[in-house]
């Protein structure tokens, strides 16, 4: 088993070696395709994470109170809201607590907020609701309160985000499909050249009684190797780029916005798995397509 695996692998490399120019061209085109794919993948994964973060606020309605509204009135509103069946929990958050939370969120940069002469934040009531419909009811109710400055909830934002991500995902899928088809065509052309050069050998193999898979084997391995090499190269490049982006942007800016970036190693490993699967699949189907005519018995 071990030796035959080495044997097959050697045959595959020989296959690539027989047609170096075209093999390199195939590797380039698949690599380019996977690179585009990888960058989109990294983008989408992060958008999804951002979406999830936003969804945490999905079921929260923020009611900002006027400074003229005192704690007693606020507590009354809170108990009113807590009586509603749609409400999971309503909490009064005084402006001081909110500022502390803000500072904590900024972490090391939190000292910047110390220079504020007075607290710019309003007192607020944070209402957790069970579902989206509940949020609407709570908003209607909150509108009836006096002393309310503003009511904030993320329904519209989240819905917009969902529609944007899904259209980006669909666009990426379509693009991917085209790129995959192009890659298969390129690989199949490469393999076709080597198949043509060996058509006599294949003919004899068929007469002697070689099975189709035996004949296909070396070409298949050649195609898969092309895919594998491309996957390796493109995965390395994307991981490197992503690492740099995370280093540049990740620590400061994104922390302040409040959305985390997916860590580079986690993304790289997933990307590697996808690339290897896709590269190998492209290589394999390319070689099978190119051999179909020769094996039609």
């Amino acid at each position: 088993m071990g030796t035959s695996f080495v044997c097959v692998l050697r045959e595959g490399f020989k296959q690539i070696g027989r047609n170096k120019g075209m093999s390199i061209a195939s590797v380039f085109s698949i690599t380019a395709m996977l690179l585009i794919l990888g960058i989109f993948f990294a983008f989408i994964v992060n958008v999804n994470v951002a979406m999830e973060a936003a969804k945490q606020d999905y079921d929260t309605v923020q009611i900002y109170l006027l400074d003229t509204t005192d704690t007693l009135m606020a507590e009354e509103m809170v108990s009113d809201l807590n009586d509603m069946p749609e409400v999971v929990e309503a909490v009064y958050i005084p402006k001081e607590t909110a500022l502390e939370a803000w500072k904590a969120q900024w972490g090391d940069s939190g000292y910047l907020l110390d220079s504020l002469s007075e607290n710019p934040l309003p007192n607020a009531i944070e209402v957790n609701v069970a579902d989206l419909e509940g949020a609407d009811v709570v908003v209607e109710k909150a509108k009836t309160f006096s002393g309310v400055e503003d009511i904030l909830y993320y329904k519209a934002t989240v819905e917009k985000l969902i529609s944007i991500t899904s259209s980006v995902q669909i666009a990426t899928l379509i693009m991917m499909l085209f790129l995959v088809i192009v890659s298969i065509v390129v690989v199949s052309n490469t393999i076709k050249l080597t198949v043509q050069a060996r058509s006599r050998e294949i003919e004899i193999m068929k007469y002697v009684g070689a099975t189709n898979w035996f004949i296909r084997g070396p070409f298949l391995v050649g195609g898969m190797l092309i895919g594998l090499i491309s996957a390796g190269i493109s995965c390395g490049i994307v991981a490197l780029i992503y690492q740099k982006v995370v280093e540049l942007v990740g620590s400061d800016l994104l922390l302040i916005i409040g959305i985390p970036m997916v860590p580079a190693p986690f993304l790289s490993w997933n990307l590697a798995a996808i690339f290897v699967a896709l590269g190998v699949a492209i290589g394999a189907s390319g070689s099978i397509v190119s051999m179909r005519r020769y094996l039609d018995t």
Binding site: Y207, V208, G209, N212
Partner: protein
């Protein structure tokens, strides 16, 4: 045992074979003769399942050829060795490697290859030419390599498609004696040929095909005067002698 039962094959409008029934026993030596385009190649291709018959049954041993799936076709072909007029050797492989190639394809171990290839090369009379490349061999020697390749996996049947077509008479005779020796070992030999003198001298069973039909099947001579093909002319039909 090869058996054709009412086998018919048409190519669009042309006749390939029409209602052919014939039986070739194990160990037979059969010449398949007839003009070009008569149906000899169709006969062979149907046996190898390169083509499928429109109707009729072809049996090879206990296999019914028409019913084999694509996956089973290689098994059928392992029971049939083929030799062509143009040898069809791989030019970048030595004689030894060309023969070994046929064994590698059917997953033989390296040890059995090392043992069997020299035996077969010696059987075909070129035991000393194993390390030569095809272009270093004479036409007759190349055909011997091709025959070695065809029989190395011990097929039940050897099909020779005009094996002497590219050879001078003396060399051709050497090949015929070799085929006869292989036949004497028990291998069925089916030889497609136009060589009247060879058929006449061998005095074996002759199946003559014309326009897709078997017009004669008996032991004896080629059946055409002066080695010319009738090409369907009526005048020549009288010369079949039966």
């Amino acid at each position: 045992m090869i058996e054709y039962e009412n086998v018919t094959k048409y190519y669009k409008t042309n006749v390939g074979l029409e209602d052919v029934s014939v039986r070739i026993e194990n160990g037979d030596f059969v010449f398949l003769v007839g003009p070009s385009g008569a149906g000899k190649s169709t006969f062979i291709k149907l046996m190898l399942k390169e083509l499928d018959a429109d109707s009729g049954i072809i049996r090879f041993g206990d296999m019914e050829v028409g019913k084999l799936s694509n996956r089973e076709v290689p098994m059928l072909r392992r029971g049939i060795g083929i030799v062509f007029q143009d040898f069809r050797l791989l030019p970048k492989k030595t004689a030894f490697e060309n023969v070994a190639f046929a064994m590698e394809i059917v997953h033989c171990t390296r040890r059995s290859i090392k043992r069997q290839v020299p035996q077969v090369l010696s059987l075909v009379g070129i035991e000393d030419k194993g390390d030569k490349y095809p272009d270093e061999l004479s036409a007759g020697e190349q055909q011997r390599v091709a025959i070695a390749r065809a029989i190395v996996n011990n097929p039940a049947v050897l099909i020779a498609d005009e094996p002497t077509g590219n050879l001078d008479p003396d060399t051709a005779w050497g090949i015929m004696r070799l085929l006869e020796r292989i036949n004497n070992r028990g291998t069925t030999v089916v030889m497609v040929t136009h060589a009247k003198d060879i058929v006449d001298r061998m005095n074996k069973r002759v199946i003559a095909i014309e326009n897709g039909k078997i017009i004669r099947d008996d032991v004896g001579s080629y059946g055409y005067d002066h080695g010319l093909y009738s090409l369907g002319e009526k005048g020549a039909l009288g010369n079949y002698g039966d």
